[in-house]
Amino acid sequence: MAAPASDAPVQKAPAPAIVPAIKDAAIAALITLGLAAPIMGLVTVQSLGKVQLEPHWMRVVLAVAVVFVGRLVLNLTLWAPRAGKSAPLITPEVEAQLKAVTRYAAPVALAIAVLLPFVPGVERTTVDLATLVLIYVMLGWGLNIVVGLAGLLDLGYVAFYAVGAYSYALLSTQFGVSFWLCLPLAGILAALWGVMLGFPVLRLRGDYLAIVTLAFGEIIRIVLLNWQSVTGGPNGIPNIPKPTFFGIDFTPGPGGFADTFGLTPSGVHRVIFMYYLILALALFTNYVVLRLRRLPIGRAWEALREDEIACRSLGVNTVNTKLTAFALGAMFAGFAGSFFATRQSLVSPESFTFIESALILAIVVLGGMGSQFGVALAALLMIGGFELFREFEDYRMMVFGVVMVLIMVWRPRGIVSSRSPSVFLKERKAISGSLVQEGHG
């Protein structure tokens, strides 16, 4: 009795099909050749006032080879067709476990952050880098109010950061106002600008809002660049004073910090002080955001993000809701900006380009918009990674772009994408971010 031959190929476990895999890899390699040959292979160089082409075929061969081999390996391993569709890597159950891990991860991270300057072996540069990371953590948390909670896409967040920085720079250098007085002032001014931007964009939705915020950010930058008499133009404002520790300066002489507390004078004191200052500011931001989420206004933001029409029909005042989101988000950017100004002791328009806005937005989205911890993690990874690869000046931006694309393709909801509800009836249930609709505002 003959076996049913026709069924055999279907029943057999699918062996990695070599031929289609090679074919696919060859096509990918061919496309790479088409992409790379002109741009990478023929380099335009200037010699004797004329532009000429200089062949660099090795790079093209390398790129094509990498794509071919990489694609082939992926085809045979990860992308190999399987009998049944494999379950997604991260299921809601795994999400819940991750959530549990993050519950412990956050306090641990906080403890590390608090103790960092006193951990033996931690040098001044590390503390300095941590300060920079914390600035972005704070900016990320601030932007999270606008993007993550209220669902308004803001591509010009750096404008408020600039307003804060220039407010402090101008007030301190022109009028000698101290940092501690300027900090709230800068926040208020930035919030005011947030409201000013908020008013015209209230009627806009989605991408119109995005482009208007982008335009606003560019306007602010161009004004800073061109209003020479006030902002110093492209040179910016130098010699911005440093903050004092309750009136005590960080100078080595008598009456300085080291002298007052009987320490050996050292430049590290100020670095550590600045670190704790931004840590306190960032934690304050986090605290406020977490509290706000539970207040009626926070719940209105999240409702607005999910469905604006339903919100309106239930009597939520969308105008006020959007304006407060813009104003509060801007306020934290203002705080962070004045800290940035005092840390750098120089502000210039080139610190406030669109790429900064994109970076902050990327931190919020890549980290996972629902999660405060995710945002902090993303800031650490991105800014830390950025500084780590400082030697590879050109390549790191290229890699940065690729990483942004890859993380989005891999986890569109960000690294930590689970979210726990702000309010709940009986028990707190963590849900996967992919079940939540958001970002339509």
Partner: protein, 304 residues
């Protein structure tokens, strides 16, 4: 009057370039509802490819300008289209149906990548090209004022008009155009009725990139210099143009491009060169306050 007419010529030329780029934005937005942030950089890649192809042609001895330009146009279009296709395939297609911010971030990542890729591959310096097309016309010498129109400007405006006409025909009359408009209205329904949605979207990107490469070539001919950073500014302006004209509308994109070009040139000529970008962006904001759907956009209908 003479000055005014001369500025008008400049404005129309610049506006044509913006319009060509803006079409790419508006089409992609129309069909998948996302800002293709990398489009400005595709334009930059197109300008670079034009320069490289031109230099290759010169190297192999094709120096007769009309033939050379035509060849550059065709080859650069094809190569840039490949870039457009690849960008869509790698960065956007896997994210289709994902939540709205994901493709946007992916697009910003792609834009950063393209910029730095070209910078690394081609070097960060300005790449000048000596004028390829020279000569021009003088108008109105008899009436007592002269307006100079160079051949380059003429080529730019004429090419734009021709491309617009061809493009309207493609979108209006061909099967692809119908499929594209169907996807724009309702992607799911179009798929049910047998439209290959993925292919249509890919073709949309290819067409957008093609027009961007033409804009790149025009930019190269007009300014005679390219670098890796031109994509960002031109991209933002062109997107502003698309929004100004009403995003999703092809005539709107062209109109918006012309308006942005004219505003920029006239502001620079009569008020202050340093503030021309502020003028363009301010007008965008003002228009959107009073006409939230742009000049020619369809009003958005909210449905529950």
């Amino acid at each position: 009057m003479e000055y005014f007419a001369q500025q008008l010529v400049y404005g129309l030329t610049l506006g044509s370039v913006y319009g060509l780029i803006a079409i790419g934005y508006t089409m992609v937005y129309g069909i998948i509802g996302m800002i293709n942030f990398a489009h400005g950089d595709v334009f930059m890649v197109g300008a670079f490819l034009s320069l490289i192809v031109y230099l290759v042609l010169v190297a192999i001895g094709i120096t007769f300008v009309p033939i050379a330009l035509l060849l550059v146009l065709v080859i650069a279009m094809m190569l840039t289209a490949l870039y457009g296709w690849t960008v869509e395939r790698i960065a956007y297609r896997p994210l289709r149906g994902s939540f709205r911010l994901a493709p946007l971030i992916s697009a910003i990542g792609m834009s950063i990548f393209l910029q730095n890729y070209v910078q690394v591959a081609q070097g960060p310096y300005l790449k000048p090209l000596p004028p390829v097309v020279t000569g021009g016309f003088k108008f109105g010498a008899a009436e007592g004022f002269t307006v100079n129109v160079s051949n380059v400007q003429l080529i730019i405006v004429l090419t734009t008009i021709v491309l617009m006409a061809v493009f309207s025909l493609i979108v209006g009359k061909t099967n692809f155009g119908r499929a594209q408009r169907a996807c724009e209205q309702d992607r799911k329904m179009a798929a049910l009725l047998g439209v290959d949605v993925d292919r249509t979207i890919s073709l949309t990107f290819v067409l957008g990139a093609t027009l961007a490469s033409v804009a790149g070539l025009m930019y190269l001919l007009y300014y005679g210099v390219v670098d890796f950073y031109i994509g960002f500014v031109a991209g933002v302006k062109a997107f502003t143009a698309a929004v100004l004209g009403g995003i999703g509308s092809l005539p709107g994109a062209m109109l918006g491009g012309l308006l942005i070009g004219l505003i920029e040139i006239f502001w620079g000529a009569y008020v202050s060169g340093a503030w021309k970008d502020v003028a363009a962006f301010s007008i965008l904001i003002i228009v959107l306050i009073f006409m939230p759907n742009g000049l020619l956009g369809r009003p958005e209908v909210e449905k529950v």
